[in-house]
Structures are given as C-alpha cells and as structure tokens.
C-alpha cells in the first residue's frame, strides 16, 4: 500500500484528505501542521508521496519543498493550496513539485493527480 504524508495547517483538510485517500486504498503515514514538521516527518517516514499546502506558519510549503527536494531529489510532492495564480504556480513548479492542485478538491481530482505521480 502506498504511503502518503499530509502537510497542511488546516485540521479540516487533514480530515477530508485522509478520508479521500483511505477510501481509495492509500495509507496516510503522517500529519504535519507546518513545513518544518513536514520536513521532519518526511525524513522519518520517507513516504511515497507528499500533499503540501503553501500558506502555513513556521515554514511555508515552498520552503519545505525546496528543503525536501534538496536532500531527496526523488521525493514526489503534490502542492494542494488555496492560491493558484500563475506566479505562485510557477514558484511551486520551480521548487520541484510534480503536480499543482487548487483547493477545493474531490476524489477525482486527488486520485487523478496521484496517478500522474506514483
């Protein structure tokens, strides 16, 4: 079973995304509330995939992606965020994310994105 880490400061997103992933046969191996926790949990669990928000306290998602990709270039990361303008999308893709998704989401959006990455 593929293991997925969720990094988002919203408890609601953790809850909804976990339900979506588990009902589609994925295991959520960790929940991080900010980028720094996300980096720590990535190193601890080495998941198959990360869902990463951008706007978070302590360390934002772009910085966390750069940190993870700097150490683990093989890491697979999907950005899932409320903002989706051209500039921020380009910043995220330049940081190394595989797919950029804008909230809100449904099962189809999430599962289609995962299929492109792992």
């Amino acid at each position: 079973m593929k293991r997925i880490l969720i990094v988002d400061d919203s408890p609601m997103i953790h809850n909804l995304l976990r339900k979506t992933l588990e009902r589609n046969g994925y295991e959520v191996c960790g929940d991080a509330a900010n980028g720094r926790e996300g980096v720590e949990l990535y190193e601890k669990h080495r998941p198959d995939l990360v869902f990463m928000d951008i706007t978070m306290p302590v360390m934002d998602g772009i910085e966390a992606v750069k940190t993870i990709k700097g150490k683990y270039p093989e890491a697979k990361i999907i950005m899932l965020t409320a903002m989706g303008d051209d500039e921020i999308m380009s910043e995220a893709l330049n940081a190394g994310v595989e797919v950029f998704l804008k909230k809100p989401f449904d099962d189809y959006k999430i599962i289609s994105a995962i299929a492109k990455v792992i």
Binding site: S10, P11, M12, T55, P57, A82, G84, P104
Partner: protein
C-alpha cells in the same frame, strides 16, 4: 470601492459554499459601503492579504448556518461549534474563498496578493471595528441562515 475588486469575492463565496457543502445562496444584497463597524452574527472568520495593495475578507455566519456547513463538510451529526476542528472548517472555507478570488485578481491585474493564515472568532453581540480601510458589506441568505461578507481594500486598481 472599485467593483472589480469586490465581485470576485462575492462570486467565489457563492460558488465555493455550493461546491464544498451543497448549500445554495438564495439571496444576495447589493454591496453597501461599510461604516467601519460590523455587528457580527456570531461565527466570524477574518483573513488578510497583501501584495501591491492590502485587503481583508470577513465572512460572518449565523451559528445555525455555520453548524450546517460543518455538518455537510465533515459528516458530523451534531458538531460542537466551539471545537477546534469545527472552527477550523470555517477558517479554511474563508481561506479557500479568498484564495480563489485572489487567484483571479492576481492573474487579471497582477496584484501579487498573498494570504495570511485566517482566524475565527465566535460569540454573540460582537462588534468588529476598523475605520482605517474602505470596506463594503454584502448580505447573503441560505435555507439554513444568513451570512455577511465584508470586503476591504487599502489602495485600488490602476484605471
């Protein structure tokens, strides 16, 4: 206030509430200039954003509507309104609405708006005051209760 700055927040609110909760907005007032004070319904989320101009979106729900939104989102039969997760739902909806509207404004007008993390306050008879920025208020109605949007900007679009 320039309607080009207001309309995206109104349209995103109607669309995101429908998409995420299945709740339809049945009535919307015309935007009215704010007095600098907002008498809150009871479940109020505030999010600020800044780029080439600064702005703020307040979404204020009647408690009955906030509870129905949470119920539809989380599948909870009797959600405790003051629970951290439940209040977080209201904050995240505001975050997604503001993100959606800001995305459109950034792509159309290059405002470079970025969101700060949202906050939620609850309680009866609250008064929110901010006299330093120009704002407009829109009243909305659903089958489960009413809400208000208060949109404020410091600065405007180049004409």
């Amino acid at each position: 206030m320039d309607s080009r700055l207001i309309t995206p927040y109104i349209e995103s609110t109607v669309q995101i509430i429908r998409q995420m909760t299945g709740i339809e907005v049945t009535e919307l007032s015309d935007p009215a200039p704010g007095s600098g004070e907002l008498s809150a319904y009871g479940v109020t989320s505030v999010i600020t954003f800044a780029g080439t101009i600064k702005g703020r979106l307040i979404i204020d729900f009647q408690p009955e509507l906030a509870l129905q939104i949470i119920k539809n989102l989380m599948g909870e039969e009797n959600p405790p309104l003051r629970d951290r997760l439940m209040l977080g739902c209201i904050a995240e909806i505001n975050n997604i609405i503001a993100g959606d509207a800001n995305t459109l404004l950034n792509n159309q007008y290059g405002l470079g708006l970025r969101l700060a993390p949202p906050m939620v306050v609850t309680g009866g008879k609250m008064m929110l005051a901010s006299s330093k920025v120009e704002s407009v208020t829109v009243f909305g109605r659903t089958g489960y209760g009413d809400f208000k949007l208060n949109i404020a900007f410091q600065g405007g679009l180049a004409s």
